[in-house]
Symmetry: C2
Subunit: 130 residues, 2 copies
Amino acid sequence: MTKSELDAVYRDYIDALNHQAWHELGRFVHEDVRHNGRHIGLSGYREMLEADYRTIPDLQFHIDLLVSDPPYIASRLNFECSPTAEFLGLPVNGRKISFSENVFYEFQAGKIWDVRSVIDKAAIEAQLRS
Amino acid sequence: MTKSELDAVYRDYIDALNHQAWHELGRFVHEDVRHNGRHIGLSGYREMLEADYRTIPDLQFHIDLLVSDPPYIASRLNFECSPTAEFLGLPVNGRKISFSENVFYEFQAGKIWDVRSVIDKAAIEAQLRS
């Protein structure tokens, strides 16, 4: 897959997340996907995302920066949202917060196969203190 | 700068950090560098790194994954080290911890000009609880 093809697949994936188009997830995510070292598979991946939307009903993924080098993509995602309860163990409780996620994806056969993500928890803690 | 040239510069930069070769930092880091939205400049960047080594005398940077797409590099760095006191506000106090940093660099004129880094604080918290 070329760089521009990979970018297009990734942008379509993010668009599917923002529309909660879970029936399309298998177009983008490999059956054997791993997330932060855990083999969760496509069904576990979908459950993770559905749980995210239950906690954060206004969740939207914004691509701030996309660095692609097939079969890898690195993406900086920005979020501005209001988790209704605890989020990452922090008492957010409906407050609007902004944070970033720096995430690497390895693709296999055109689908996301390995995800290594870090969310900027320290930024959220700083907002809750202010 | 080509992808392979950019990769080589970045690997030399990491090597310089691991040798605490601060006098070489200006070869890799732009005078006007920004770090996580703050304009700290080369001198501020050096101070930040020197402070890191004071807190973490056994600090070493290991590149786990490098994704490059000039003028951008995204790197997943792994650390196994023993901060002597607090680290990211956590009471590490000499305990050996492992964590990752997912970081994006934008280069300008062959030097690091903008850094957007997220450290996996949640992973450290989990180790301190165990």
